[in-house]
Symmetry: C2
Amino acid sequence: MTNDAVTLAGALADRSAWRANRCPIGRALEVVGTRSAMLIMREAYYGTTRFDDFATRVGISEAVAAARLRDLTDAGLLERRPYRDSGQRTRHEYRLTDKGTALAPVVLGLFEWGAKYVSPTGRPPVDLSHADCGAAVQVVVKCERDHDVALNEVIVSPPPRRH
Amino acid sequence: MTNDAVTLAGALADRSAWRANRCPIGRALEVVGTRSAMLIMREAYYGTTRFDDFATRVGISEAVAAARLRDLTDAGLLERRPYRDSGQRTRHEYRLTDKGTALAPVVLGLFEWGAKYVSPTGRPPVDLSHADCGAAVQVVVKCERDHDVALNEVIVSPPPRRH
């Protein structure tokens, strides 16, 4: 066993006896498991709302942008709303929903990991800070009692039966 | 502007004047931007080390498992080491590196988001708890002064110049 793994408890302890068939990670990746989907969410977090801006800033074709924006809208991460600039025809913009905003820890986690482990400089190209106090922003794994939790301090167990 | 977006500051404030060309999120996704790569990392966190177990538990073909394990090993998230069961020929197992373990907040973030927003029950199929105190484990966005940070409280600014 590697020392970095979680501890599997109870009925999960024998890994050969079960498979992660209903895995929420797998379900999440059915929705946001492509590079372009994640980068469109990044753009939405940056405040991008318009079709042309998504395509240009992510660096994908209009066809791919259209398909991905439709997927993300159908899945409820973005909401399509009409708008009209003066003298122009009605167009649509894409706004974040609560479901879309709730994915931010994943995208911020990719930002941190990519900056530290994949970027040639080992440093992020932009700073993320907290508006209220100016301190650096980070993604952390904590328990509800506010302890930092390393991966090998996580216990994975079957949920209590619900009656 | 949507209220849920970050605030772009300084030279980044005019979004039309820059693009995220050196984006760490994009770089991260070049390494772990496929569903099978993320699910292999999930399995490594569960303690899976052997080729057959990765393929079976992720539910992918041996060819895909081999390609993905090679990618993740080449990228430094897993390390390939020889082992030998008694009476068998030498085989290889895949162990987590620090770089691989450091991706855990992303995978745990997908778990949380998928359980809440994509799973039919809205509940995780397994419980994650802290070995030391038993409290539930969660992925959170915090600042270094330990404040919770919502997405619309993040300021994205150019890093200070380094001399």
